[in-house]
Symmetry: C2
Subunit: 382 residues, 2 copies
C-alpha cells in the first residue's frame, strides 16, 4: 500500500544491482492523474547531491508525473558525470512512461563521492516501468539503506487518502535527515496549496527529528496529488491528515535510527517563542554526553542544563525544571527528586523541560548515542 | 614542576575523600609574590557552576593570591547551598594562608547536580596549606577526573618561566572544555597585560579544541604572575611563550580525550575570513558521522563536505579540495585519488581542507567517536 493507497498511483520496486546485498534498490512511483500537481521540500544543506539539483528544477512548475528513487549510491560530489547520470535517469523514466523528463523527480541515497553506474540503472528503469502496479510495499523496500524495516503510513480524510513511504536511519537532522519520503494523495488541490500543506506538516514532523545532528546532502520529501478522488478538501483539514502521516513516518524513522536503543522525546514548554523552544530542544538532542548517558540508563540531568546553557534562548538556567519519565529531578536549577527514582530501561524516554519564560512549546525527537551507532557508522562505507 | 616551575609559586595536592577512587582530589596553588597579578577566562556557557560565579567576582580586580581546585564534584546546579560551599572554601583558604578570601579563585570539576561535602573540603584545605611546596606534580594529579595522566607544560622566555597544568578529557569544546587550567609565571606584567596575553593565547589553543562538541559549565583558565623574576618582557614575546604552553596543554588534552583512538587535526585554508575557517573546521569536528568514520579508519570525505555544507561560510562546495594524511581524495568537489590510498591507522590524522575563497586559515583539534567514548560517558555518573 503506502504510496499506492491513494487512487491514481502505481509503483514498483526492482533490483538494479546497486546494493552489495543484492536487494531491491530502485523504486518508481507514477501519478496516473487526472492531475499531476506536486510539492517538495529539500535539504537545507548547501552541499547538494545531483538528484537534488535536478529535482529542484523539476518541482519549479509544480507538475510531477513520476518519481524514481535509488538506494546504493547518493550521487553526490560526483562532478559533471554524476549530474549526467541523474539527467539520463530522468530521461529514461520519461521515455518509458511517455512523459516529460522535466516532470520526473529523482532521489538517490547511499555513499557520497562514488559514481552511480548508469548501465545498471537503465535496464532497471525499464523493468520498473514494466512492473508498475499496486506495489507500494516493494517500492518502500527498494529505498532502504541501513533501515532494518520499511516505513509506510496511510491515513484517510473525508473521501480521500494520504499515504507515504520513508527511508532514513542515520544523518537524521533538520533541514531534513538522510531521508527520502514520498507521499501520495488523491485530493484535488493545486500545487501551491500542496506546497503550503507540505511545509506546515514537515515543520512540525521531519524538521523536528534530530537523531544525530548530521544533515544529509540528499534529503527530499515529495507530495504528489492525482486528484483521482474528485474530493477538494479544506486545506486545513488536509494539512491535519498530512501532518499525521508525516509524524507517523518521522516516529518510525526515529524508532529505527541507526544503532539506537532509546527513542527520546524532548518536550520543551514555557518558552518565550516557538523558535526558542526548538533551539533549546535541539541543543539537548545534539549533546553527545546527554545521549550517551541515556544509553547507559543514567538520568544525568546536569548534562541537559549544560546543553541548554549554550543557547541564546530566553530563560534563566536557575529557574528551570527538568523531568525524566515523569520524575522531576531538577527544580529551579537545583536537585529535586533523586536520580534513582527515574526508570530509563524502557525504549521510550520522555524529557520534559519547563523554561518558565512564556507559553510556547516544541517537541524534538532524538535517539541515544550507542555502541551500535558508532559501529554502524564506522563501518558503513567499507 | 608545572605550576611551581616559575619563581614565586608553591603548590600541593591532597586527598579530601571526594573521589570514589580515593586518589588526590584537592589542589592548592599559591602566589608568594612580590606581585599578585592575574587574569582568567571562563566558559561561555550560560549555565555557570558556583565556582565560576565566585571566581568571576575574584578576578574583577586582577588580584589573585591563591587558587584552590577540586575534582570529585562540579558544584553546579546545587542551589544556594552549593554557592555557600564555594564561598566557605575560599574563606578557609584565605584563613589558612592569611590572605583575603576575595583573592582566592575556586575551581571544581566532576558530576553536575550533586552537593560537595564541605566537611571533607575544610580539613583537606588545612592539610593542603600545611604541605605547600614544590609539589606541582601532586597538584596536577589532584585535578584529574577521567584523565588517564596529568597534563603539564613548561616553557622559558628570556629570564622568565611560564608553566601550567590542565585537566579535561570529556566535554571538550570551545568557550573552553571540561577543562581546568592553571598557568603561573614570574614575569612583571600588569593584570591588564596578562588579560590581553591570555585571551590571545586561548583563542588559538583551548578555544580551538573541540573534542565532543559539549561545552562545560565549569571551565576556567587562570594565569597568575608573581613578578619574582624581575623581568618585564615585551608583551608580544610573552604572549608567544604563553601560547606555546597553551597549545602544548591543549594537545595533551586532545591526546587523552575520553575513549579516543585518533587525534584529528583539521586545517582549513583558503578561507575568506578566520571566522569562516573556524566555523568550517568546527562543523567537521562536531559531525558524529565523520568522527565515527575516522574511528573505523574510513576516509569518508563525503561526510566532510556534508558537514561544511551546513555552515554559512563563504565557499562553493563544488570548488573545494580535501586531503587526508597527505592524499587528496577530493578535488573541486569531486573524487580525486582513491580512498584506499589513505592510511588512517596512525593515531594522528591530518585533514586539510582548501576552501579556495581567500587566504585565512584556522586549525581545529578534535577526536574520533569511539565505542570507548560511548562507554565512558554512559557510565560516568553511575
Amino acid at each position: 500500500m503506502s504510496v499506492t493507497a491513494a487512487q491514481g498511483f502505481d509503483a514498483s520496486g526492482v533490483k538494479a544491482g546497486l546494493k552489495a546485498s543484492g536487494g531491491l534498490d530502485l523504486a518508481l512511483v507514477v501519478n496516473r492523474g487526472p492531475l499531476a500537481n506536486a510539492a517538495a521540500v529539500f535539504t537545507s544543506n548547501r552541499a547538494l547531491a545531483n538528484p537534488i539539483i535536478w529535482s529542484k528544477q523539476v518541482i519549479a512548475d509544480g507538475t510531477v508525473s513520476a518519481i524514481v528513487l535509488n538506494s546504493g549510491g547518493a550521487n553526490c560530489f560526483t562532478g559533471a558525470q554524476g549530474f549526467q547520470v541523474t539527467h539520463s535517469t530522468a530521461e529514461a523514466v520519461g521515455a518509458a512512461l511517455d512523459v516529460s523528463a522535466g516532470d520526473v523527480l529523482v532521489c538517490s541515497t547511499g555513499l557520497i563521492g562514488e559514481q552511480l553506474p548508469l548501465e545498471k540503472l537503465l535496464p532497471a528503469i525499464t523493468e520498473a516501468a514494466a512492473s508498475l502496479g499496486d506495489h507500494g510495499d516493494d517500492a518502500s523496500r527498494a529505498i532502504m539503506t541501513t533501515d532494518s524495516r520499511p516505513k509506510v503510513s496511510v491515513r484517510h480524510g473525508s473521501g480521500y487518502t494520504v499515504g507515504g513511504m520513508a527511508k532514513g536511519a542515520g544523518m537524521l537532522a533538520p533541514g531534513l535527515a538522510t531521508m527520502l519520503v514520498v507521499i501520495t494523495t488523491d485530493v484535488v488541490l493545486s500545487s501551491a496549496e500542496l506546497d503550503i500543506a507540505l511545509r506546515k506538516a514537515t515543520r512540525v514532523s521531519f524538521d523536528r527529528l534530530d537523531s544525530d545532528g548530521c544533515m544529509s546532502t540528499n534529503d527530499q520529501v515529495s507530495l504528489l496529488a492525482s486528484g483521482a478522488s474528485g474530493v477538494e478538501p479544506q486545506l486545513a483539514a488536509f494539512t491535519a491528515v498530512l501532518t499525521e502521516v508525516c509524524l507517523d513516518l518521522a516516529e518510525q524513522l526515529q524508532g529505527d535510527a541507526e544503532g539506537s536503543s532509546h527513542d527520546i522525546r524532548i518536550e520543551v514548554v514555557g518558552a518565550e517563542t516557538e523558535d526558542d523552544a526548538v533551539e533549546v530542544g535541539r541543543s539537548i538532542a545534539r549533546n553527545n554526553l546527554f545521549k550517551a548517558a541515556i544509553f547507559g540508563n543514567d538520568p544525568n540531568w546536569g548534562r541537559v542544563l549544560a546543553a541548554i546553557g549554550t543557547t541564546d534562548a530566553e530563560f534563566d538556567p536557575y529557574d528551570v525544571d527538568v523531568s525524566m519519565n515523569g520524575v522531576r529531578v531538577c527544580h529551579l536549577g537545583a536537585p529535586d527528586r533523586p536520580r534513582t527514582d527515574v526508570d530509563l530501561t524502557p525504549r521510550k524516554v520522555d524529557l520534559l523541560l519547563d523554561l518558565k519564560s512564556g507559553s510556547a512549546t516544541a517537541t524534538i525527537l532524538t535517539n541515544d548515542l550507542t555502541h551500535d551507532y558508532v559501529h554502524e557508522n564506522s563501518a558503513y562505507s567499507s
